[in-house]
Every structure is written in C-alpha cells, then in structure tokens.
C-alpha cells in the first residue's frame, strides 16, 4: 500500500519559492491501477517522484507498506527503490546497451550474475512480446517497442509497484492502447500495483480503477473512475473530462441541459422516450456515452425548445424518470 500523507513540496527558484505540492494525501491500495490526471504544471510529475523519493517532499510522509521512506538511510532507500519500478514519457533507455542488456541492467546493479540477469531479462522480453528484438539497440526500435523494453526493465527486479510518468504521452493512439493493455495485463497477471500519471482522460478511462484529479498543486477530486467520469464535482475535473463544457455552442437560444447517465440500462431508449412522451423536439448537441456491461455511462447535452412551457415539460419528465441533469451555463 502506498500512503501519501499531507505531502508538500516547495522549490526555491530565483523568482522565490514555488509550491509544487500542497497538502496532498492519497492512499493507493495493493492491486489497483490508480490514475493521477492534471494539466501540465499541476504538480503531477512532482507527485509521482515523491513516491520513490526522486524528489524529497518538504513536508509530509511517504509510506510504502507502512514504512516511512523519509526516515530510511540512503542505502535502505536504494533497496526500497528496487521494489518500485518506474517508466517515463521519454523511455530513458541506455542507448549504448542492446535490448536484453537494458532489461538486465537493474539486476546487474542489484548484484545478480550476468548470466542469471540475462535469463530473467529474456523472460521479461517474452512477457512484453519483444523476444525477437533482444539484440537490437534502442535507436532501432519504434516508440512503442522502446516503452515495452522500459516496462520489461522496470519489472526486472520483481517490483510490487510500477510508477508510470506520462508513459504513453509520446505515443500514437494505437500504440497507447496497446501499451495500456500491456499494463493492465501486468496488473492482473503479476498483481503489480500501478500508478499512472497522465494528462489524457482516455488513459484513465481505459485502465484505471480510481483517479485523483490534481490542480494547482492540490488534489481537487478523488474517487472511482466511473463516479468521477459521470459526475465530476470539481471545475478542473469537468474541464478535463467534459472538454466541450468550455466551448460556446451554437444554439437557437434554447436552454442547454447536460444529462448524466449513471449506469441506467443501456437498452432504455431515453431520448426517444422523452421525445415521444413529451411530444417536444430536443436537439442533441453533444453526446459521449459508453456501454459497460449493459449499463450506460456518460453524458449528453440537449438543447431544449425555446418555448419555456415545452422546456419545463422536458425537465419534469427527466425528474419523473430520475435521470440526472444539470443546466449548462452559456
């Protein structure tokens, strides 16, 4: 279990102190995939570096399985770091070592014999599907392949935790999906707890169990991905999750309602029923819904008729059918 308690981090810059983290508390349970999302500069990279103390927090505690990392000697800290793998946006492979030696590297520095390290490295290359490239050098690999090598390398010392710092941000959408699927498999098959830092909602959406939204050095919101996704509470979460909420929509002057699906039966034709029963036309301005095991999740923006009586009729119908909605400001 990773517990961050009241973490604060202040940098001294020439322009005075800069607060990168303010009173951040998070608990990440074993076996979960935890996402941290935020805009660039929000402090998420600092946050993930505090977990393995690549950055030392200026206040608060970092507990890994109950052990306070800040209290450890340097040697003990190095040992704990071997149980926390990390991958990066820029892959950070050793350019002068070939693939198998890159994966064997953390084992060699941990004191393992070269032959044993290589044997273990080959197992991991099989896991990430790069067996036939073991003698290639990083310069000869594609971005997705480099990240696979980095993942294999991060897992070499059999860590319990894997930290991913914008690990898919330099990859195209297809490669991103493949890498995320690999991370999910590692989580399920090896039981590795994964912490993912990203600015892309689709990453959180695809594999995370829980998410923390970070904004201006603080945790703005935290919860199960399905909860945060369908009903974001904070302004920043709404901006990240519902990117359209910022744009001004071309309307004919009617009120805009955001309808939120919390997992109602996806087979229920909500909009059709609404139109048929109210005998009122509505305009679908935007929709982003998905079907998860037969339940509908997501949201949809409807423009109501300009006639206030007709609009009220729609709202009454939504309330009667217990469908969540929120009026969108113009």
């Amino acid at each position: 279990m990773i517990e961050l308690k009241h973490l604060g981090k202040t940098y001294q810059s020439s322009a005075g102190p800069v607060e990168a983290l303010r009173d951040v508390s998070l608990t990440i349970a074993d076996g979960e995939i935890f996402g941290v999302i935020g805009l660039s500069g929000a402090g998420k990279s600092t946050l993930v570096r505090c977990i393995n103390l690549l950055e030392r927090p200026t206040s608060g505690q970092v507990l890994i399985d109950g052990q306070d990392l800040m209290q450890l000697s340097h040697r003990e800290l190095l040992r704990v770091r071997r149980s926390i793998g990390m991958i990066f946006q820029g892959f950070n492979l050793l350019e002068q070592r070939n693939v198998v030696d890159n994966v064997a590297f953390p084992l060699e520095t941990a004191g393992e014999k070269k032959a044993a390290a290589r044997a273990r490295a080959r197992e991991l290359l099989a896991l990430v599907g790069l067996t036939e490239r073991e003698n290639a050098y990083p310069a000869q690999l594609s971005g997705g392949q480099k990240q696979r090598v980095a993942i294999a390398r991060a897992l070499a010392t059999r860590p319990k935790y894997l930290l991913c710092d914008e690990a898919t941000s330099a990859l195209d959408p297809n490669t991103t999906r493949a890498i995320l699927a690999l991370l999910q498999r590692i989580n399920r098959e090896l039981g590795v707890t994964i912490v993912i830092i990203t600015h892309e909602m689709k990453v959180i959406d695809q594999i995370c169990d829980r998410v923390a939204v970070i904004d201006q050095s603080r945790i703005a919101e935290e919860g199960r991905v399905s909860d945060v996704f369908v009903n974001p509470q904070s302004q920043i979460a709404r901006e990240l999750i519902l990117p359209q909420s910022r744009t001004v929509m071309e309307t004919k002057g009617g009120r805009l309602l955001r309808i939120i699906f919390h997992g109602e039966a996806s087979s229920l034709p909500v909009v059709s029923n609404l139109v048929l029963e109210c005998q009122v036309p509505v305009n679908i301005m935007f929709a982003d819904t998905k079907d998860i095991d037969g339940a509908a999740y997501g949201h949809m923006i409807l423009e109501l008729p300009t006639d206030p009586r007709q609009a009220e009729k729609v709202i009454a119908w939504l309330n009667n059918n217990q469908i969540g909605w929120r009026e969108e400001g113009k």
Binding site: N52, L54, L77, L78, R79, V80, R81, R82, I84, G85, M86, F88, G90, N92, L93, L94, E95, Q96, R97, N98, F105, P106, E108, T109, A110, Y137, P138, A139, Q140, A150, R153, A154, T157, L163
Partner: protein, 225 residues
C-alpha cells in the same frame, strides 16, 4: 633543392626517431592527462547543479583551479612547472620532464572535455537509473561513462591532437621530437625543407589520429545503426 642536412638527418635515422619521440610523448602525455583529467571531469559534472551529487563548494573550487591553469599560455605553464618535474623525476630536462609539464598543462583541458561529454547524457537516463536504486558510483561507471563513450572518444581525439601540438614546444625544455628537429636543424640553420618536412609529418600524424579516432568512435556508438 634538398639540403645536405636533410639527407644526413634521414640517413642517420634522426627524422624517423623524431617521429617516434613525438608519438610516444603525445601518447604518454595524453594517457596521463586522462588519468588526472577524467576523474576531475567526472567530479566537475556530478557536483554541478542538477548533477547526481551536487556540491556547490567542491564544484566552484575545482572549476576555479581548472580555469586558472587553462588561462595560462601553455609555454609559460610548461616553464613554470619545471620545479614540479624536478620534484617528481629529479630532473628538469629531457622528455620525461616534458611529459610531466605537458600532463599538468593538458589535464584541466581534458577535464573540461570530459565534463562536456558527460553533459550529453540525458538527465532522464540518470533519473531512470536512480529510480532503479543505483548508487552514485554505479551511475558513474554503468551509466554516465558508458553512455558518453562515443563522445568521450571524440574528445580524446581532439585532446590528443592538441597535446601533439604542445609537444612541439618540448624543445624549450630540452625535449626531442619533430618540433626540436624543425627548430634546431631547420629554423636555426636555415634549412626550410627540414621545417616543411617536419610540418608534413606532423600533419600526417594528426590526420592519422583523427581518422582512426573517428572510426573507433563511430564503431562504438550504438545510436547510429
């Protein structure tokens, strides 16, 4: 056209010996300059801000010492270092003394070359090694130096050529080699052909070092394949 002196020197094997002496002074001086300069360059790099063991005072003091020696013209530094040569070798003359003074003159230069090569290793790679629990020594020997190897070799070629140029000053301290032949038999006795022959030979040696060094650097670099 060809002076008698040149023919005499050649027949006595003096020119050939000059080539050999220039080569061994250059190679030995470069090797010892790296023995001093390589650790110095590593320390300069790791103690710098953002390095793996930042230490402002060590970095400033070493930086000052290196800059101090680098700002003294080589010929003056060599003369000034004669007492050091006497201390180490109990003589202030000959090729041994030349090598001692060359090493002292070249080591700070080498340190800066090494430092700039190490700067090319991306910070992310160092960070990745730290995240794996590597100690600072492991990072120096298993990450910094191997990753900077092609650049270090390029730097070594440049240093060697520079030091080869310095050996021409060896005559000042009673050293031998092509520089001495050019000055004593060429310049002082007005045999222009001897000067030009020495120049040609030195140019050939420089070209050879450059070509071989570049080849080695290219072969070892795994980034371009």
């Amino acid at each position: 056209m060809i002076s008698e002196m040149l023919i005499k020197l050649w027949n006595n094997g003096l020119i050939q010996r000059g080539v050999w002496e220039t080569l061994y002074m250059t190679v030995l001086s470069t090797a010892f300059a790296y023995v001093l300069g390589l650790p110095l360059g590593v320390i300069l790099h790791i103690t710098d801000r953002g390095g793996i063991c930042p230490n402002r005072w060590i970095n400033r003091i070493l930086g000052f010492v290196v800059n101090f020696f680098r700002s003294i013209p080589c010929i003056i530094l060599m003369v000034a270092m004669i007492p050091v040569a006497r201390l180490i070798l109990h003589t202030s003359l000959g090729n041994g003394a030349v090598i001692v003074t060359l090493v002292i003159a070249a080591a700070p230069y080498v340190a800066r070359m090494v430092e700039s090569s190490l700067k090319e290793v991306p910070a992310g790679v160092i960070e990745a090694a730290q995240s794996m629990g590597c100690s600072s020594l492991q990072i120096i020997f298993h990450v910094l130096l191997p990753e900077a190897k092609p650049s270090l070799i390029h730097g070594c070629v440049i240093s060697t050529v520079t030091i080869l140029g310095y050996t021409a000053l060896a005559a000042t301290l009673g050293g031998t080699g092509l520089g001495q032949i050019a000055i004593i038999y060429g310049h002082q006795r007005s045999n222009d052909d001897i000067i030009w022959l020495c120049v040609l030979l030195i140019v050939a040696i420089v070209q050879l070092i450059q070509i071989v060094g570049t080849q080695i650097a290219r072969r070892t670099d795994k980034r371009i394949k």
